[in-house]
Subunit: 165 residues, 2 copies
């Protein structure tokens, strides 16, 4: 198609440090949560989203959108969270296809118990390592990257079977 615009030496270096730093960071956060609270990071974030929603309740697809997760992934995850007694499903009265996920009191308690350790890890491993200027810079950089990430790609699986028959 077009000849490749390879990375410069410096870009390569930044890219590798960036990946190593971020993968290492997320890895440690995930380990901390799994070790101390027996939940994967993705499940923690589902609980957070629910805890902030009105009535601690969200439609499955809204929750998937918020978390940038596929419907399939969320469905499996909520099934596990339901087994743990942290989330309940409730049907939607106005749309019989739909279903709500509701954070239970036990789920909220589990989240409250997990939060301090998680926040401490984020502080120690991220914010304590950066100057106030760098924190601002990271915010700007993140926003710039976000502008190019199509969040829809994760959530939906466009079925194009009807388009080119």
């Amino acid at each position: 198609m077009s000849d490749t615009r390879w990375l410069t030496e410096r870009e390569q270096e930044v890219w590798r440090d960036f990946m190593a730093a971020f993968l290492g960071l997320t890895d440690q956060l995930a380990r901390q949560l799994q070790r101390d609270s027996a939940m994967p990071h993705a499940y923690y974030e589902i609980l957070v989203s629910l805890s902030e929603a009105p009535d601690r309740t969200l439609r499955m697809s809204e929750l998937a959108g918020l978390r940038g997760s596929s419907r399939s992934r969320l469905s499996h995850a909520v099934a596990r969270l339901e087994e743990a007694g942290w989330v309940m499903r409730r049907e939607c009265p106005t749309d019989k296809r739909g279903s709500f996920a509701v954070l239970t009191d036990r789920g909220f308690a589990a989240l409250e118990a997990a939060a301090p350790g998680h926040v401490a890890e984020v502080r120690e491993k991220l914010f304590d390592k950066l100057t106030p200027e760098q924190i601002e810079q990271l915010g700007e950089i993140s926003k710039a990257i976000l502008s190019g990430v199509d969040t829809s790609a994760t959530t939906c699986c466009p079925d194009l079977t009807g388009g080119d028959r």
Copy 2:
């Protein structure tokens, strides 16, 4: 233990944007590689590490160290890469426990075929979104985060059974 130092509003915002941006970015890179080259991102990086090693050969544990991967994970991955014909195992003559992973010609060709698409995605989704100053800042920030990430944690599983008997 100690009372929690919660995140400030601004820190929270940066944290969420950061996670969303990074998870979205890695997700898209992984999808691009899987879609266009039928390999997970982690496998791509294994091939890269091997391609840069003398004789395209590395001890399993060195490779695990380079990639910040556990020995178990690497062993499974190399098994898959061997099935694909991209990597071969060779035994180590001086240490009969050890084994080498060697990138095959087919593996090198697969890497060459995958690289342009991957680099284009990294460019488009990351470097094209950032100013030269931001790229420098990201490099510094990554180094700072890296300083607090203990890369050993991933690789080894310290067996402390003998310590406190």
